[in-house]
């Protein structure tokens, strides 16, 4: 059913097996703030666990009105993994006040939603909630880790025809969420705008490496050896920025920030199963002294050849600064006429 473009784009937001961090991040939207951003696209929250007045019966009445079709639901946003345990009952998370497993509420509501949006890596793929022994039998809406499936099944399509839109990230950047909703509300997000894991390409077609201020260290393989060093964190400290699909270093977080700008590795939190890298997060696994895990689209032989060449050519400045927590050797200032 086509939406009357003058009517508000309605959003119902539920939280399940997650930490609420994607909402906490969402509230950091700025210039303009969240309320103004949503208003600009005529997006209206029917109910949100953090923002809405309605509690208890009042909230359940909203859900029931959506299920009965009295209120049109343009986007169902789910934050947090879906819990199937114990023993397939889903009772590790019952929706408070309803004695019903939240995964069942989500399945019913997804069936009447024009779009279903997974907010964060937990809702998309299971995420940290599915890590280790996965005590709660957690999964994503349409993925179980890297495998299609999850709570709604691989074949699920929302009423408007799209699979679940996976705004992956742990947490999500506020604008990944608002821009996804704004594009949906404008009718501008189509199947081809999602990548192979269902992530909106407007942010997933970038790599965290893009715009990382440590790029010069990367170019010369001048590596950080310990936490707080300035060098590239790929060789020793577990950084996956060259493989991680996100625009964190061009979009930036909380003003001027990003993980690598904060001095710590990118752990590829937009990817399914990032929670189980197979090694300690802040340590790069190596075979024969060579880091396992190549930069995206880089042939291995070339990477090794370029790396050894780059290492041999590392300027002394970068070699020294890479293992310091502040710049000890600034770039030389040259007379521009003597180029």
């Amino acid at each position: 059913m086509m939406r009357d473009l003058n009517a508000p784009f309605t959003v119902l937001w539920l939280q399940s097996g997650g930490c609420g961090g994607c909402t906490m991040s969402l509230l950091c939207a700025e210039a303009p703030d969240l309320a103004a951003t949503l208003a600009s696209a005529n997006i209206r929250f029917l109910w949100h666990p953090t923002l809405s007045e309605e509690t208890g019966d009042e909230a359940i009445a909203v859900f029931e009105a959506v299920l009965s079709g009295d209120i049109r639901l343009d986007a169902l946003c789910i934050e947090g993994a879906l819990l199937r345990g114990p023993n397939g009952t889903g009772r590790f998370h019952t929706l408070a006040g309803t004695d019903t497993a939240t995964i069942n509420w989500v399945r019913r509501l997804a069936a009447v939603a024009e779009h279903v949006v997974a907010v964060g890596t937990c809702a998309a793929y299971g995420g940290v909630t599915a890590a280790g022994v996965n005590p709660a039998d957690a999964c994503g809406l349409q993925y179980d880790g890297r495998r299609p499936g999850g709570a709604l099944g691989a074949d699920f399509r929302a009423r408007a025809g799209l699979p679940v839109i996976n705004v992956a990230g742990c947490p999500t950047h506020p604008n990944w969420v608002t821009e996804t909703l704004m594009l949906l509300s404008a009718g501008l997000l189509h199947g081809g705008d999602l990548d192979s894991y269902g992530r909106p390409r407007f942010y997933a077609d970038h790599l965290v490496h893009h715009g990382c201020p440590r790029n010069e260290y990367y170019e010369y393989k001048a590596s950080a050896e310990k936490m707080s060093d300035l060098g590239c964190m790929m060789e020793h400290l577990g950084c996956l920025g060259t493989q991680a699909h996100a625009d964190c270093n061009t979009r930036l977080w909380n003003g001027e920030g990003s993980c690598t700008r904060g001095g710590h590795a990118c752990i590829n939190c937009t990817a399914p199963e990032f929670e189980e890298p197979g090694h300690a997060f802040i340590e790069t696994p190596k075979i024969g002294g060579i880091p396992v895990g190549l930069p995206t689209d880089m042939p291995k032989a070339w990477f090794i050849a370029l790396s050894s060449l780059a290492k041999a050519a590392t300027p002394e400045r970068l070699r020294r600064n890479a293992v310091s927590d502040h710049v000890v050797t600034p770039p030389a200032v040259r007379d521009i006429r003597k180029r």
Binding site: P86, F92, H93, V133, A136, H326
Partner: protein, 485 residues
């Protein structure tokens, strides 16, 4: 249930962090008994087992989106204990700034987004202050709600500069922080904090932070209500007086704080207990978790967290929550900003604790007084950062050992207990602030602090989600995702 008693099941309980259900037995217009349930179990303690101990810095913060730095800090402290490493001076001060930023942001979120919008409900339309409450605090749209979110967003720029991002930073390390600040960062931090100060002084307090921090007793608080500067703080005091919030939601008045913000000597807010009008020290060996009414195995006896376990028992019909019941020397304790300020000796908090105990009003007042005090301290910490000096001490993990880390989240005392064997996490137990506050009954039948605080709450005719109950619940600033983890 006796005759004339009605049972109410309240949920989903929103404008708290995470999921909460409260069961109430109501008779003669008041709550007779309350049972607090945390309906979400994820099992982070089990997720952590078997991993490299350093992975706790990635996994533990993701317990909670609103206390992620506190969770990270507790893990870093436990790792520091294992490594025997002491943070550098810069590392300690930067850690204080990062943790204080989160705690301050949470206080702002709590007051403006979670707590105050209940007074803008139509049910209060007949009160003289209603129009102003609605204008400022209507959920999501009120003027103060939006302005506070903007202030919070500005404040969290501290994270962009010092920690990379918020939530879920990896910046906090056992030996300090992963990123240094230079002189221009210090200027930028002072500008950010200065802007936050200006916002709070203009809108929340209507007065300098120092005046709020210096409030000395209940009389001065009352004078602020009667003749103080216009601001959201005074509006709250007006509402609190009209609705009698000081008589609502008293629990056992036993307070616990692990202490916050280590300085060169001592902490900004001291660790301790306060009960029966007396200060005491925290004996962590006397902490134990009771599983009698938690849907958890291990019900035979309470366990100290070094011996604790987390095996959910979905078939358990006696248990009514996934939350365990932590007790100190066998007693429930209340934790949070008010408790922290009482134990730290802030004169107004101490006076309120003595005269009226913890209640809806004093918990909120404690949080706002702490907001002022902490922001003042943060400005001094920025000035104390020393560019060029080290930010992160380096240590090495032993193959085996055990250690714990204690810190203060916005909503109270948070502890991690870690046992390492053969270089891997063999056991990890977490007791979060709301685990203390919203714990269920224990083997001896003692209710948790919220369960006690709800007894006697008025339930008006026809109310299914009583407003008084909502005020009491939200006055604790609960974080339910931390509670069970």
């Amino acid at each position: 249930m006796s005759e004339g008693t009605k049972r109410l099941v309240v949920g989903p309980f929103n404008r708290v962090e995470g999921d909460l259900e409260v069961r109430l037995d109501v008779a003669n217009g008041a709550v007779k008994q309350a049972f607090v349930s945390s309906p979400l179990f994820r099992g982070f303690e089990r997720i952590l087992e078997g991993r490299d101990p350093r992975d706790a810095l990635v996994i533990a913060p993701r317990i909670c989106g609103i206390c992620s730095v506190s969770q990270s800090h507790a893990a870093a402290l436990a790792l520091a204990g294992l490594e025997g490493v002491v943070p550098t001076d810069n590392g300690r001060v930067a850690t204080n700034l990062i943790l204080a930023t989160e705690n301050l942001a949470d206080h702002l979120t709590h007051f403006h987004v979670f707590f105050m919008p209940d007074f803008a409900r139509a049910a209060y339309a007949d009160r003289p202050w209603f129009a102003e409450a609605e204008r400022r605090f209507k959920a999501a749209h009120g003027l103060s709600v939006r302005e506070a979110l903007a202030t919070r967003t500005t404040l969290l720029h501290v994270m962009g500069l010092l920690a990379g991002r918020w939530p879920h930073t990896l910046a906090l390390q056992p030996g300090g922080v992963a990123k240094g600040a230079d002189a221009r960062d210090k200027m930028r931090l002072l500008a950010t904090l200065g802007s936050v100060r200006a916002d709070l002084e203009a809108r929340l307090f209507g007065a300098p932070l120092e005046r709020v921090a210096a409030l000395a007793d209940a009389e001065e608080l009352d004078a602020w209500r009667r003749t103080g500067p216009d601001g959201d703080f005074r509006l709250f005091l007006t509402i609190a007086e009209d609705l009698g919030l000081a008589a609502l939601g008293r629990a056992d008045d036993r307070f616990l704080s692990y202490g916050a913000y280590p300085q060169q000597e001592g902490r900004l807010y001291a660790a301790g207990t306060f009960a029966g009008g007396r200060l005491g020290s925290v004996d962590t060996s006397a902490i134990a978790e009771d599983h009698s009414f938690a849907r958890m195995e291990g019900r035979e006896a309470p366990h100290h967290p070094f011996e604790g376990s987390t095996f959910p028992d979905g078939a358990d019909e006696t248990g009514y929550t996934w939350c365990k019941a932590p007790r100190l020397s066998g007693l429930p304790f209340e934790t949070g900003a008010f408790a922290r300020q009482v134990i730290a000796g802030q004169p107004l908090a101490r006076d309120l604790a003595t005269k009226e105990g913890a209640n809806v009003r004093s918990r909120v007042v404690g949080r706002l007084v702490e907001t002022a005090r902490t922001l003042i301290a943060m400005e001094n910490w920025v000035r104390a950062l020393k560019p060029g000096e080290p930010w992160c001490a380096q240590g090495a993990l032993p193959q085996a050992g055990r250690s714990f880390g204690l810190t203060e989240a916005a909503r109270g005392a948070l502890g991690h207990w870690m046992v390492v064997e053969r270089g891997r996490i063999a056991r990890y137990q977490i007791i979060a602030p709301t685990t203390w506050n919203f714990s269920p009954r224990d083997a001896s039948g003692q209710p948790g602090p919220l369960e006690t605080a709800l007894v006697g709450a008025p339930v008006r005719q026809g109310e299914t989600t009583p407003l008084a109950v909502q005020h009491i619940v939200r006055s604790f600033d609960p974080c339910m995702v931390c509670t069970v983890h």
